[in-house]
Amino acid sequence: MTTLETRLRRDRGRKLLMPYLTGGVTPDWTDHLRAIADAGADAIEVGIPFSDPTLDGVTIQEASDAALARGASTDGVLADLSRNRIEVPVVVSTYANLALRRGADRFCRALAEAGVQGLIVPDLPLEEAGATSAAARAANVDLALLASPATPPLRLREIAERSRGFVYAVSLMGTTGERRQLAASAAALARRLRGVTDRPVFLGFGISTPAQAAVAARDADGVIVGAALMRRLLDGADPASTAGFVRSLRRALDGVPARTSADAGG
């Protein structure tokens, strides 16, 4: 069992929280990283910005652009992470090209060397994930796979099986970004996933408020909150206020019983 798996266990007794942060988005991004870690995150997803974030909505596109404009790069973000080790596990997310460009093996080793424990590559679906998956395993990095509301049952099972660390349940058919309401598809997907795997199931995409996080957590083991946090950061929030937002999410999640009927699956 990897460290990530140890930390993100279903049975940790509370709903899990994974805030998302674009690496290099501001000069003080590692201050945010630390503040968020201290505010009750169970893991942090750190995005390595890519020029063409095809699965991201406007907010994270803007964050990526800002980071790239500041000169952010894979090497830079990893160096920052290396210098700013935090107690909470870090999961890097990025697009396939950045991983494949240097070769999956080298890329995964570089992650591990920077203390990164997990990896999300949204445009590497099951069929294309083979080599990266092997490389990650060799580097002791968990490659988490994504499932979506449109994923049919057999495929869902295979995704859950081959996913490492956790399973990323894309709550809706759409891009990242804040939404007024939690998608109706979220609960059903989380339930379906929990019915086929023991790995923790994280709902992500569109979870924008503590209230939505709480609703999402009824059916999932944890939530990922990205755009809502990044919007605050892009609007000028300092590390104390991003941490404040994360704390409010933490509180909302802590109000949800950690073991619910959701275990029965969907």
Binding site: D52, L68, N97, P125, S148
Partner: protein, 399 residues
Amino acid sequence: MEALALRDPSAAPVAGRFGRHGGRFVPEPLIAACEEVEAAFTEAWADAGFRSDLAWLLSRYAGRPTPLTPALRLSAELGVTVLLKREDLTHTGSHKINNVLGQALLARRMGKRRLIAETGAGMHGVATATAGALLGLPVTVFMGERDIERQAHNVFRMRLLGAQVVPVRSGSRTLKDATSEAMRHWVSATEDAYYCVGSVIGPHPYPWLVRELQAVIGQEARHQCAEQLSAGTPDQVVACVGGGSNAAGTFAGFVETPARLVGVEAAGGAGAALGEVGVLHGFQSLFLQDEQGQIREAHSVAAGLDYPGVGPEHAHLRDLGRAEYVTATDQEALAAAVRLARAEGIVPAIESAHALAWVVRAAGTTDLPTGSSVLVTLSGRGDKDIATLMAYLGDEEAR
């Protein structure tokens, strides 16, 4: 085995691969949609009824077959026999209509209720708007803001045809970003909407599907060459390459012949000639990128070639050495467009003019020896480019 997809054009490439390229690098929410398109097209393409509906539209509506015109004056000037495959004469004015009619029929067969598309030069957008109007399917076209400015003519055409044109303000505000935005929109609309991809790019099955639909160019040209050339086939077959659909469609007719295949990219958007292996927009191929893997912005006066990558089949043909990829500069393309206008009375799209520019440059060299014959696909007409060409001419004459 590698080139299988080319030898038997109607078979889908194994796992969507062209050699090491291609694939389906899409986020999980799009997997089912891609599979649905693949299944539907595989079935439709094997259905004589679908093929005859398409053939009907291509001939009765879109003006196929297009002529193969010998460029007599240009040939005399260059010392090589230049044959022009006249996609500029199709309805809407470019080869894009071949692809779009097939996909729109497919969308209807799949029960989709609307079409989405990305566009660069606007020709694919106009073609999609056209097919949508024809089949009664609403159309949304994503187009980079910069392209909206420089291809205003086509933006007006799309709107006239009833399509909604959505300006894309991210990144380089050109084709690359329009494609990203179309994919983002598609994710949220797979149920309802059919994504009508405009070139041999995107996740499997698109590079194969679009190649199949464009193969009509090469098939016709092959027959026409057999009639018009004493040698039966041309020595060289040349087409411009943006994503690579007109080239792929042309090459499909000649890949089994001894003809040399040449794809001409814009010097500032030369994925095949200058790119490196990467993944974008759902497929692996050759892309302009920095050492870190960030995609570089393409820069070309031809909005339709202003794309940093190239379809996976072209990357594969380059790997195999079966096709070569060269470049032409903005200046060369503009000069070639004016030259064709004045020698043959044909104003080509600036995209197509890249193919001609290479022919003009290469004629008489070992690359294209005097006395040889060359088929050039004129992918489209230059109406959309008149303002750009006039500005260029003004500058030239001012010199």
